[in-house]
Subunit: 96 residues, 4 copies
């Protein structure tokens, strides 16, 4: 995790519903990752594991989608072009 | 997890080094996912969370890469075309 | 192309520089696609063709990035939540 | 296009059906790219263009899938591990 220790940036505002749904999703993803580890441990068939990995990746994508939804709702509207440029960078560098 | 309960398919063979490295990676990814949940909990800035999500997704991709390496080494070589068709399906449906 | 014939939606505003750079990019991509067809015609090695395909895909991603930049600059700012929802849908359904 | 001028590598063997279907696909993709350029020229709505770009990207992915199918059929079978390593590199570096 490349997060800086001091004074992490905070969201302008966070919808309670989005936050709680994201925490539930992440909890489920953590379980998925543990399940994948178990499959590796049991030497399960490669294709079956890769499908579970793809599913965890999609689930992470879902969390990032909700974060972006919250961002567009609360931040992007009062944001100058600089913030939009950053948003664009995130989208195109990190979104797959 | 859409894994069938009875008689899960097993890998033909698994390299001990690949297995152990994958288990280590998955352990780290589980920690990453917990870290992301903490960031959501603390209402950290959306862009910073999305970067961590992207990093977890890349790490999962790394595990899938190692599984595929093991698969190509041990399975695909004695594989009839059927296995190759399946390999192709995995690659194009599930790999992002 | 699933474009509707009558009354296509127009951009609110288009930066001349973005438009001209995108037209140049697309012109180059068209040439890339022709080059890929030539490689297929000449039965070139699969890996070498796939690398060129990846490069054309990245170039298309570049065009979509510029379109999104223009969109965020001119449209998203005076946009109600509906438009942002659409933006989000595009990003997460279509962006790879 | 980063293709080397001299002595390009050739495919071991190419299925006539795959080759002809890929040439047809690429011809269609070239038309798609021209259509996208026309949409940019006419200042069409960003979302509508991005959907067409995504469709061209998917179509390119289809060509790469067929190339990989041909590769797995003809090359990977008599392939030492070297070719498999290369296959893996293509898959994980270039496939999105």
């Amino acid at each position: 995790m490349h997060t800086k220790k001091a004074a992490p940036r905070k969201a302008v505002a966070v919808d309670a519903a989005i936050k709680s749904s994201n925490l539930k999703r992440l909890n489920r993803i953590e379980g998925q990752v543990r399940g994948i580890a178990r499959m590796v441990e049991e030497e399960r068939y490669c294709a079956d594991i890769i499908i579970q990995i793809a599913s965890a990746q999609e689930a992470l994508r879902g969390v990032s989608r909700e974060l972006m939804r919250n961002h567009l709702r609360h931040c992007a509207t009062h944001s100058p072009e600089a913030v939009q440029g950053e948003l664009l960078d995130i989208i195109y560098k990190h979104l797959r």
